[in-house]
Amino acid sequence: MKQWIAFWSILVKDARCYYLKPPNISWALIFPLAWTGMFFIKSGTGLDSVMTLLPGVVSLSILFGTTSLLAVAVTFEKRGRSFERLLLAPIPLEVLMLAKTSGAILFGIANAFVPLAIAACFADLSHVAWAATVPAVVLIAVASAFLALFIAVSVSEVFEAQTFSNFFRFPMIFLCGLFFPLAKLPVFLRPLSYLLPVTYGADILHEAIHTAGTMPLALDFGMLCGFCVVLFALSLRNIRRRWIL
C-alpha cells in the first residue's frame, strides 16, 4: 500500500509539474495536427489517404509525446538533485522508475488519440480493429517511455537529453515504416528498421487501421513487449551503475 501511495504521488506530481503544463498540452495538440497536415498535403490524394497516414501520425505523436518530456524531466531532476529524494525513498527502484515513466506513458497515449479524433472527423473509423489498435498504442507508449528513460539515464545534461532523443527519434520517422513501406527502404537500411521498437508498433497500426501490416501481429506484439522489457532492464542497470555510484 505504501508503495502505491508513493507511486501515485510521483505520477500526480509529474503530471502537474510537466505533462499538464499549457505549453505541453498545446504541443500535444499542435504536433499531430502539423504532421497530419504535412503528410496529407504531400500525399495529394485527398481524404482517401487519411487512413493510410493515420498509423504513422499516431505512432509519431506517441513517440514525440513520451520522449520529449520524460528524457528532459528526469535529466532536469537529476541535475537539480531532486531525483535524490526519490532514490532515498524506501521504495524499490523498479516501482520508482515505473512511477516516473507512467506520466509519460499516459501522456503518449493521450497524444495518440488526438490524430485519431481528428481522423474521425474526415474518415470512417468503424472498420478499425480497436482490439489491436488500443494495445498497440499502449505498447508503443510504454516502449517509447522506456526509450526516453534509457536516454535520460545515459546523459548528464538537459541539452544532451534533447540531442540524444533526436538521434533516435528523427531516424525513426523514416526507418520505422510510418509513412513509407519498409520494402521501399534501401536494403542496407532495412536491418536497422527491425532494431527499432516503433517499427513493430506502426506495423500493428497499419494492420489494424487499413489492413496493410507486413508482419504477423503476434510477432509485432512479442517484439514490442521484448523491447519494453529490455529497455526497462537496461535503464535500471544504468541507474544502478551510473547514478548510485
Binding site: C17, R85, L87, I91
Partner: protein, 331 residues
C-alpha cells in the same frame, strides 16, 4: 559498554573509491541511539560520500553498514524508512509550493493524505513558513529554502536524521533557529548525524565527534574529551594596526614561553601554557611602531582541535563552502 541494540549506525571497514581517488578509506564508527554525532573534516575529506553510502545514494566498495540493527550493506533500501536526509543543497521541487513539497515527501514514505497534510502543517508552523506555504519553492529565499529542506527531512518522523551542512547559507537568526530545532530533536530522542563547517555549532550540539581527513577517521571522541586538553592553554588574540610579516616570529623570539602567529588580517594569536602578561607584549609591539587596538583572552575551543588535527584553517574552508551556498541560492 554500549548495548548493541542502542547502536543506530554501525559501520565497519567502509571504503569507497571514485576512479583513482580513495574517497572513504576503511572507515568505522558507531552512532548511539539519541546522540548527536558530528562528522567533521575539511572539504573533500569524505563526509558527503560517507553520508551517501550510508543513505543508499552510493555503493560501498567494502565494509558493512547496519542501520537500526538492520544489515543494509547489500541493500540500503532496507534501512531507508528509518532515515531522514537533509542534503547539503536544497533539492526540493521548484514548481511545487512549500506545502505540496512536504506532502509529496511524506507520500514517498507511504504516509496517507490526512497524516502527511497534518504533519506538513505542523512543520510549516515549526519553521515559521506558514505564510509561505502556498508559494512555489522556486520563489523562496535561500534561508526559506534551507528551512523547508530541513522540514522535508523530518516529514516522516525519522528516528535517525542525516544533516549535511544544515545551516550553510542561513542568516544568523535562521541558523540559530535551525540549531535550536536540532537541539529540540535531540531532546525528543532523534539520533542525528551532523556534518558542518561551523565548528562552534558542532561543539554546541554534538555529543561525540569523528574527524575525517583524506577519507580516514583520525579521531573519534566525546566533545568534552576533545576540548579538555586544550582548556589549560591560554590564548590571546591581539588586534593590531599593522600586522607586519615576521611579527609573530619576532614575538616568539622575544617571549620564548609564548607561541605567536598571524590569525587573520590585523590579528596575532598568542598561545602559552602559562598565564600571558599583556603589558610587556603591548610595549614590545608599540616599540616597533605597531599600534595595539585590542587584546582579548579567548577560550580554546573545538576549532583549535580541528586545526590541530586537520592542519586546515576553518575560515578558508567555511568561506569556500559559503560561496558555493551563495551560488546555489542565486541560481
Amino acid at each position: 559498554m554500549t548495548d548493541e541494540a542502542d547502536l543506530v549506525i554501525q559501520v565497519e571497514g567502509l571504503s569507497k573509491r571514485y576512479g583513482d581517488v580513495r574517497a572513504v578509506d576503511n572507515v568505522g564508527f558507531t552512532v548511539r541511539r539519541g546522540e548527536v554525532f558530528g562528522f567533521l573534516g575539511p572539504n573533500g575529506a569524505g563526509k558527503t560520500t560517507t553520508i551517501n553510502v550510508l543513505t543508499g545514494l552510493a555503493r560501498a566498495d567494502a565494509g558493512t553498514i547496519r542501520i537500526g540493527g538492520v544489515d543494509c550493506t547489500g541493500n540500503p533500501k532496507k534501512g531507508q524508512h528509518l532515515i531522514g536526509v537533509v542534503p547539503d543543497e536544497n533539492n526540493l521541487y521548484p514548481e511545487l509550493t512549500g506545502f505540496e513539497n512536504l506532502c509529496f515527501c511524506g507520500a514517498l514514505y507511504g504516509m496517507r493524505r490526512p497524516e502527511r497534510e497534518a504533519r506538513a502543517r505542523e512543520l510549516l508552523m515549526t519553521f515559521g513558513l506558514v505564510e509561505a506555504a502556498r508559494r512555489r519553492f522556486g520563489g523562496y529565499s535561500t534561508g526559506m529554502k534551507r528551512k523547508l529542506t530541513i522540514a522535508a527531512g523530518l516529514i516522516h518522523h525519522p528516528p535517525l536524521l542525516f544533516l549535511d551542512e544544515p545551516t550553510t547559507g542561513l542568516d544568523v537568526a535562521s541558523a540559530r533557529q535551525a540549531r535550536q530545532l536540532i537541539a529540540d530533536l535531540h531532546r525528543a530522542g532523534t539520533t542525528i548525524f551532523l556534518t558542518t563547517h561551523y565548528i562552534e555549532e558542532a561543539e554546541r550540539l554534538c555529543d561525540r565527534i569523528a574527524f575525517i581527513v583524506s577519507g580516514r577517521v583520525v579521531r573519534l571522541e566525546r566533545v568534552t574529551d576533545l576540548v579538555q586538553p586544550h582548556q589549560a592553554r591560554r590564548v590571546l588574540l591581539v588586534s593590531v594596526s599593522d600586522a607586519k610579516a615576521g611579527l609573530g616570529e619576532e614575538l616568539t623570539l622575544a617571549f620564548p614561553a609564548y607561541r605567536a602567529a598571524p590569525a587573520g588580517p590585523g590579528q596575532i594569536r598568542v598561545e602559552s601554557e602559562e598565564p600571558i602578561c599583556i603589558g610587556p607584549l603591548v610595549r614590545f609591539l608599540e616599540e616597533r611602531g605597531v599600534e595595539v587596538l585590542e587584546a582579548r583572552q579567548v577560550r580554546p575551543s573545538l576549532e583549535d582541535v580541528f586545526v590541530e588535527i586537520t592542519g586546515i584553517a576553518i575560515d578558508a574552508m567555511r568561506k569556500e563552502k559559503e560561496k558555493r551556498g551563495a551560488r546555489e541560492g542565486a541560481g
